[in-house]
Subunit: 382 residues, 4 copies
């Protein structure tokens, strides 16, 4: 018997580590930058991908964390079983978790409580058993009551609860609304995070603002049901939307602590969304200033983009009297020599003994439509 | 002798027609969509690329038009000659034009009149002889007078005059200003177009607004001095900024007529800028609706992106009561099946006998910060 | 309920049709060129991919045919069930076949009879029920007897039988041998085809020669157990090994008729293997001669590579006295202008009124180490 | 004035360091691995690329050395000047050398003595003045005498002489011949190296064998006349043919010493050609064995391909009784976990305490059709 297994391994020997379509973000001072898929489905609800493949996909895309969030109501259980499976609603997690160990992926035990809006869909992460949660959901006709009961049971298990896709075109085709039911759940401390990005309908400015106003953790998830390669255009170089989790350690506990502490940012469609506290260190690690040379009448700065996304800079108005590109895109892994000169047009000190270099980072947003402002003061060494 | 030439041809036989980093835009009703490089330098001023290579670069990137716009002042003439060349200020055009015939590229005879701001730099396109223009520029100390004299001479030759990079960080490090001198030139009818995009500093919202207010032709140029592959990151898939010229024919005259008629749009960094009159037909040709199928309770629309740039759609608020993705990016050459359903959440007619599909095209802007609104009314065939 | 399903469709709307890592081969005179995966595993034996994902992978790579060939012995059945599944050994086929209809993929009902060497592993394609075949295999200790019994039962069901990976490193680490047992099965007409390519160990020259000597159908399979993206380096542009099937129609019956008629070629690692009868029309369709221009003293030929693989040409010695590149690689989708001149070095008629153009196609092999010879006679039109 | 120059620099700030189409080869024990373009033309003979662009092209492709080898006869001088230039036949070198300093490229002063075959074309590298060489070439009608005179003068200047493209289709359309004239030049010690690869006609097995028999330095050159992007299909991922020079230092002198010491290998179309002495250390540095783990009954070896070319391995017959993939391609920058097991089929010691791992490296050839044999003995640590 053993022979066969060792042989099968021989056949998966060749493994690409190429960086295309792979998330690359540096760690930041004091924290690991973990890339997480927070919302995904498998064959064990209405997805058609096996849990091991979900792990392999994440592995190839450079993700560190995968939350298994199959729908956990009875309807989906019936879809799945269809006479084929003998299992409970934790099986997809079990299979994924075992395979995750092989690939070095942190797998989170979760589920999606699925109801009409309001209150809509919620993910419950870090649960221990989906069955009692599903039972409460199935037992109750009223959307709100079923959700409150389910989230309460999940909380007993220690869950972190996320309101999914408030802007989902199927439930909110035109406007994204915060309903009184959401206030209730929020007041009962049953809502910890909110999806400000979901692949069905992209980024939601409304949800982003609510998260800021109510101090909810920013979450981005794909909600994919098919293989990733069918849901995204890899050939166009697309990177999977994900949540950046700034964690003290590479573990389930580390991820949970970071989510509870609101230390996340969301990547989607080339943009990164997060608080200024979180984005400033991420930006400084992402666009490394590897060298600064003062010349007679100019200053030469070398930047290296340490990520796999373009970084877009626009000169901020408060860096007057020095001249440098007013707009620049620094592409993935690209090194740029950046020249700063004094501007005689405004009587600047041409010797450039010291100056402020400041940018708006146009694809790092701290709030809807609000780019991160980055400023550094440079002085000529004596 | 001949033998040698035929042999040399044997050595350039293998020619890539691949589409990477190549501009692809469909023609529009009644016009050819010509892609133009409107501002570029060669070894005959302060660039370090031979004119034939400028043509070959354009050929490989799918451009149709190249304007040779070397600086035409005496300073640059001295730089060039440096004991090496015997030629006048029209030589780079002559060499490029001859090579352009081989590659099927339309070459425009131009030059860049180079002065401090105001008035700054102006391109004179469709001239017949740069020498007298340069002589007038060199003869005059005063920036404005030199420019007015040069543009007047160019106009005598039938030129189309463009104010280059009003936002150039070297001359306008912080703010982009329209000076009284520009009003003078404008009133004397010596300004036909304006660069709203220049690779040094990207897009200028101010210049775009001025163009709209004063009915100036929108121009985008690269202003490249080094080989394109050194100025742009081809490996990151970047496309060269260019001007889309909607021309009645593939000829110098066609290009001139289109520029004078203001039928242009500007491509840069994934965005397209142009008037609603110009962008609406371009969008309809670019995102072709190849099929519409009405199902029992939904409608399936097939879109094909006929360009090499992503097209970014956001659902417009006026398409209420039908549900479809609120945000979608359609990647280059991608085919997308787009589903529209009735939304019971707002009591929509689930049968979907007819409906408005409407989007904001987030990367087609008709004015600063103003996306093109696209609407189509679809009716179920009886 | 329905609402939910229609919504899920909304989430898989964006579908890449890009050509990267996609098989592109033109049809040939009288036949469709179907690209087939002839040997693959799913979660229903020792693979860890769900059957629907196998179909989606094939769809994205431009394949037309997928043969589901899970191991069908009791050992693997036990692996699979492990208390999880309620199904027989035909379930992976049923799931794949249903999903194949959605994607337009032809799915073949098969299985892999798995024994030690000799006789090793055999695929049985076009079966109707794997259970009785497995039962016979399980019932017999002796490798040969078990195989003969299984293949005989499969044949009763109308199967096409393939000897898999004769050169598999696990069973044939150093030399590839045809055993007396294979002669027995062959004489009993239980062997129709043979794998000359298998991803575990690549191409087998020995198997290729045996196929030629015994008129066996040439088969190439991947034998993949993990997701394709883990088994192959997509980022390096690798194309999945496959079998080209020249079929009269796009159907299971068409595929079966083509296999029985030996109308196949095998693609693997940039090479194509097949008989001269099969490769000549494939080559002529793959490298289209789109234009021939006779000039005064040379001839200009335009070739277009209609495939997604490079085509490698070396001048054949029998085209003396004309000069053209002695070696040329024409890359995927590339257009090449090819120049032919008379050679005065050998007193060739410089006027080139007519001549033979002939090549060895270095990556189309009709036998081990034997490139296809292609010759065309061109005459100057009067 | 200065202002303008500093500004122009601002416009070339963004510089791609991406690895696509870039040569990547590691240094080897005791030597730097310099990648050299040994044969290229500029606008100063019959090429149409400016010398600075030749340097920029090489820079972008990761080359370290560029030999400027314009034709140096009077015919080409006339072509060039055509009333445009005032210069001698060393101008292209001077321009390239100056720009090379900016880009960190070593520029070699050379020229191509151009005559009919025999003796054909020769490159003279490391010369000090092309004028006297050209004068001798122009003064003599007889091909051989002109060549001998020119090479003798070049030698006086300290040149390294290379016989170019003996298999050039224009001069040797069918067969590649070593003429008595070549014996004469060889005996007079006027031939140091020979092109075994030239882009016009690819690899020449005959030239390779002559180099081995006569201890000539292996040289590969492109002989490009147009921009590289027109001569090669970058989009297909093609790497420029080049000569790998194993040099003691990064300098003109280092390159010259290495060429004279025959320490070169030639890259072309995915193949590397060189002596066993040269290829063995190159292979060991190129395919790094980063980890070896002995398991209970198998051994797991991690290989990393440190180059930008695929490395192709075929199991060598002398590694019997252990099982591992009989064929494997390791793609650029790829990491592969490689499994070795004992084979019970041949009564191998399953415990694998020690074994030979040996391959033929199918794309590293030490002679025509002769792959490099690589063997390593691995022992289980006690």
């Amino acid at each position: 018997m053993k022979k066969f297994y060792s042989i099968l391994i021989l056949c998966v020997a060749s493994l690409s580590l190429s960086a295309q379509n792979k998330h690359v973000f540096p760690d930041v001072e004091g924290f690991l930058t973990l890339k997480g898929e927070m919302h995904i489905h498998t064959r064990f609800s209405d997805g058609d991908v096996w849990p091991t493949s979900r792990i392999d996909e994440a592995y190839l895309e450079g993700l560190d964390v995968v939350c298994i969030t199959d729908h956990i109501d009875d309807r989906h259980r019936r879809m799945v079983k269809a006479g084929l499976f003998n299992c409970d609603l934790n099986e997809s997690y079990r299979i994924a978790e075992k395979h995750g160990k092989k690939r070095g992926i942190i797998v989170i035990h979760g589920g999606e409580v699925t109801r009409g809006l309001p209150p809509g869909h919620f993910n419950t992460l870090f649960v221990t058993d989906n069955e009692p949660i599903a039972a409460l959901n199935d037992a109750e006709k009223d959307h709100y009551k079923a959700m409150e009961a389910s989230l309460t049971e999940a909380r007993k298990q220690g869950s972190f609860n996320v309101w999914n896709h408030p802007h989902w075109s199927a439930q909110a085709p035109n406007e994204t609304k915060w309903f009184p039911e959401h206030t209730k759940l929020y007041k009962k401390d049953l809502m910890d995070g909110i999806e400000i990005y979901n692949s069905c309908d992209g980024y939601s400015a409304e949800a982003h603002q609510w998260a800021i106003d109510r101090n909810l953790t920013l979450i981005g998830g794909t909600d994919f049901h098919s293989p990733v390669a069918l849901e995204m255009n890899f050939n166009a170089g697309v990177l999977r939307p994900c949540t950046l989790i700034f964690s003290k350690e590479r573990s389930v506990e580390g991820v949970k602590e970071a989510l509870q502490a609101r230390r996340t940012a969301v990547y989607g469609d080339g943009m990164i969304y997060g608080s200024e506290e979180v984005l400033t260190p991420l930006f400084e690690a992402s666009l490394e200033m590897t060298d600064v040379k003062f010349h007679k009448r100019s200053c030469e700065i070398t930047f290296v983009n340490r990520t796999n996304i373009p970084i877009i800079l626009r000169k901020a108005p408060d860096s007057e009297n020095v001249q440098y590109k007013r707009f620049l895109i620094i592409y993935p892994q690209e090194t740029v020599k950046y020249w700063v000169g004094g501007s005689e047009y405004y009587g600047a000190p041409l010797k450039l003994d010291e100056f402020d270099l400041s940018f708006y980072v146009e694809n790092f947003h701290t709030a809807p439509q609000k780019p991160l402002l980055y400023r550094v003061h440079l002085t000529r060494p004596q």
